[in-house]
Every structure is written in C-alpha cells, then in structure tokens.
Symmetry: D3
Subunit: 116 residues, 6 copies
C-alpha cells in the first residue's frame, strides 16, 4: 500500500477522532454535514465528489484534494475524467493550481497502484 | 427578458470585445483556453460547467457564477441539481459563500423566467 | 432608518426565504449551523461575532461584514472595539482589506444613526 | 472627467478621512505604511505600482485595482504595459480574474480619457 | 518539550532574524506593526489573539495558526474557548478549514503538554 | 548545490513530465501559456517574473514563489530588489504572507549560494 495514502489516512483518522472527542457540538455538526453533502441526490455522489475536488483545487487545499481523490476512485471516476477536473481547476484557478496538481497526480497514481 | 441577465451579458460582451481588440496575445489565449475547457470530453460539458460553477462559488466571483449559471441552463441542468452544486460550494467554502448564493438564486430565477 | 441597512436587510431576508423554501436539506443545515455557531458558550456571543467579523474581513466579504456589524451592535460592541477588530483584520489581511474597511465604516455609522 | 473615476476618488477620500479621524493608531500606521511601500527604492515606483496592481488583480479587489491603475497612469505606465500586467494576473490567477480585468479595462479607458 | 513547537519556534526565530537583518524598512515596519496590533486596548490582548487565530484559520495559514495558538495559551485561553474559535472558523471558512483544524489541534495539544 | 533547490526542481520536473504525458490538451496549453506569459514584451521578462513573484506571494503558494525566485535570479534581479517585491507582497497581502516570506528568504539564500 502506498506510503502517502497510508500516512494521510492515519493522520486524518487520528486527528478526526480527537476533534470529535471534544465537546464542541458545532465541529461535530460540520463533520456530519460534510458527510451528508456528498450523498446521492439529484446529482450522483460521483459528480458531487468531483465538485468537491474542483472546489478543493481552486482553494488549493492539498489534504482536501487527497480526500476527494480517494472518494472519486471509490466511486469509479476514471483517470481521464480526473484529469478533466484538474483542467477545469487549473483554468479557473490559474497556474497557482499547478503545484497542487503535481501533488494530486502523485497521490492519484499511488491510490491506483494500491487498488491493483 | 430579465434586467440582471441583460445587463450582465451586455457588459460582458462589450468589455470582452475591447480586451480581444487589444494586441495582447496572452489574454486572447486565456479566452480561447476558457472556451476549450468546457467542451465535451471524458466528462460532459454539463458536468464541466457544474465544476466551473462550484469553483466560481468557493472563489466567490459573482460574475463567474452568472456565466456558469447561464451555461448550466443551456445544457439542461435542473434546479434541484443547481441547488446541489450550491450546497457543495456552501459546505466546502463556508458561510462566506451564502451572500453569493443569494445572488446566484436571484440570477438563476431570472434566467429561468427569461427562458419561458 | 439608513438606506444601506434597510436595503441590505430586505434583500437578505427575501433571498434567504427563497433558499430555505427550496428542498435542499444541506443548505438548510448550513443556515441553522450558522445560527448555532454564535450562541453563548465558553466564549460570549459578543466575542464570537467579533471573530465572525474578523474572519469576514480577511475573506473580504462585504455582505458578511454587514451582517456581523449588525450583530455586534446588538450585542453592545463599542466603536473603539469595532475599530480594533478592523485593525487586526487589516494587519493580518493586508491593505487589500482597506476598501472593505471603508464600506464597513460607512455601514457601522449608518447602523449607529439608526439606533439613536 | 469620467464618472467612475470621480465617484471612486470621492468615496475613497471621504472614507479615508473618517478612518484616519478615528483614534485607531494601527489603522493609521497601515495607511502610512501603504504610502511608504511604493516610494522609489531599489525598484522604481513604477515597477512597484505594477506589482501592487498584479497583486490586487489576483486577490480580485476591484477598488485596489482602480487605485493602482491611477498610480500607474501618473507614473507613465503605457497601455501595452498595463495589458501585460493584466496578462500575468490572468495566467497566475486564472479565468476568475477575467471579470476584474473587464472592470480594469473600463477604468483604465476612463482614466486615459480624463487625462487628455 | 514538544518537537513540533520547538522546530516551529526555532525556524521562525532564525528566519525572522534574517529578514530583520536586511535593509528593508517596510518589512521591519510590518513586523513592528504586527506586534503593536495585539497589545491591550479597547479589546484585551486575549480577544485580539483569538481574532488573529480566527483570521489565520479562514485564510488557512498553518504557521500563523501555530503562532496565535502559542499566544493564546500564554494569555490563558482555555481549550473549550480555543475549540469555539475553531468552530467559528470552520463554519465561516467551510470544510476546507478542517485539515488546518487537525494540525491546530495537534499543535495545541503539544503546547499544553509542554506547559505542564 | 542546495538541497531545497535540488529537491524542488527534481520533483517539479518529474511531475510536470507526468502531467504533460497525459492526454489532457487543456493542461498542456496551461503549461505553454505559462511559459509564453513571461517572455520579453512591452515589459521585460525581469519585471514580469517579479509580477509573478508578487502574485504568488499574496496567493501564498510556496512552490510558485520558489519557481519565480529561480527565474528572478537567472534574470539578474538583485537581493534588495527581491526584498522590495517581498515588501509589496507583505503590505498588500498582510502578515499572513510573513511565513511564506521566511521560506522565500531561505530559498533565495540557497539559490544564491548555489550560484557562486
């Protein structure tokens, strides 16, 4: 299993647990809202995860990008589709998105190897 | 025809013409790249326009939102789908996206009236 | 009653109603979460509204700034306190925050006149 | 004299006066620092104003863009140079910068007419 | 003493020294302005540091978050108060703030251990 | 040769190759547009790279900053000029830019050592 993916997931799980163990109700609701947002609806979960990915790329949040890439893979988004999400994000968000695209490609590759 | 839509389109057309009439090759390429990005590909134009809409919302660009709403309508995105794009953008981008959602809803309504 | 305040409130109320009248559960939850966030807790509502104001200023969202200024006034934030929130936002966010500070001062003045 | 320019300058002057009339020392220092930043140095004021313009464009602050356009004109930046600043900003910042470029071109035209 | 805290402080100190050793007056003033901003005033330093923290979170600057967390601890901000600042930042700034909240919680824990 | 510079360049080269090896035409065009943007024109490449650097700093993209610092060095931008670009970026973008300035100074130093 890929090292980037493993580390990212372990850290996310560990810290999410701590955040949810706190007494802060608002943060708990943010988490549950986050989960609800990507459920099947008028739009499929697949499309919604791609929306989340595009939004994360233009906001340039590497950890968010990783998360949505994992979900996209689970939901069957193909590599040429992922690259088209990348292309929209790079055009809307500019060349400032390129370094995040590099990391996204690296993570996407590792996710796909892991899946074999 | 709705006033917001008409004014937005007239201003956009007038200023785009001036920008493209300048001798700046880079800006011309940005414009043509923008057009190319949303063409049918591995993802449909419809999905790509929704990606562009979500990206524009989290980057909080009202004029970009208007543009993508028009394209979404042309490509047959339904109101419940549009609201799901809004919901992803509001969750990823936070309550800071709410004021832009208000304007987006107003514009979407006017676009739909105009279409009848 | 001040014109800026009246218009802002009327538009906000009208559009919020439309958004909440839609069938989108996620957007409704975003709205109710927004309300909950600023309730008295370990921190007072007053401090939380100032946090919301500072966050809105560095994210440069004029409508959000207006909203938090209204709440701050209701909760008894004084003018010299408001200006200190402005100062933190201008230092953290840079001179790019200045134009939003101008509008914030204008709105704050109108809110205070209205209150007399 | 152009209407956009006149209104922008009048509003800026009126509100800056109010901000500087407040007792907030930090905001006063932000203003004086802002002035100092663009003085001749290792780089010319002309280059620095173009840096300020590019930064304002990618941060998408219309009022800041207007301000730097005025300074650029005063310092002799030519139209083809301004369009090259626009091009860098559009490439780095993405198509999200286009709507701000439209307004910038409109303002630049009016500034130049006013100057005749 | 915690490793994250130590490394962060050592790097910050080393690089600040280099920046202040340069001949650039503007950068020096930015630094001194930064210090002044959080002094006791109409608002307490404690509140101002929480404002700085909230602003840093929605702007998603991990190093700035660390800095304000240290200051908050020194000024006696309690853990439930810190989590309420986190909650405001997550609601205003959206789920994009979650990864930064994870790092903030980790750093806050280490700061508190160090303090024992 | 400096470690930061070497690692940054190796990673950039490796990932750019992968991105350009994909079948995505839009991403390829973004790359070629990026190169074209900084060519000599009405403004010199040197000025354009400084514009790119200022834009990257206020958008707080460390990898973009590194790239433009390398180009600036190649084009003969002196250290006092670089620090003036930093100063404009810190004033326009606020103290949130300070952590990125620290990394920029570290990288600039390493680039200059490497050059000896």
């Amino acid at each position: 299993m890929g090292k980037l993916v493993e580390e990212s997931n372990a850290y996310r799980a560990k810290m999410n647990e701590k955040i949810l163990a706190s007494d802060n109700k608002i943060l708990k609701r943010v988490y549950s809202l986050d989960t609800l947002t990507y459920k099947e609806g008028a739009l499929s979960s697949k499309v919604k995860e791609m929306l989340g990915l595009a939004a994360s790329m233009v906001l340039r949040c590497d950890d968010c990008i990783k998360y949505h890439l994992e979900k996209c893979l689970e939901l069957g988004v193909a590599s040429d589709e992922i690259f088209e999400v990348f292309s929209v994000a790079n055009v809307v968000g500019g060349t400032i998105v390129i370094p995040h695209t590099r990391k996204a490609v690296e993570y996407w590759e590792e996710l796909n190897e892991k899946n074999i």
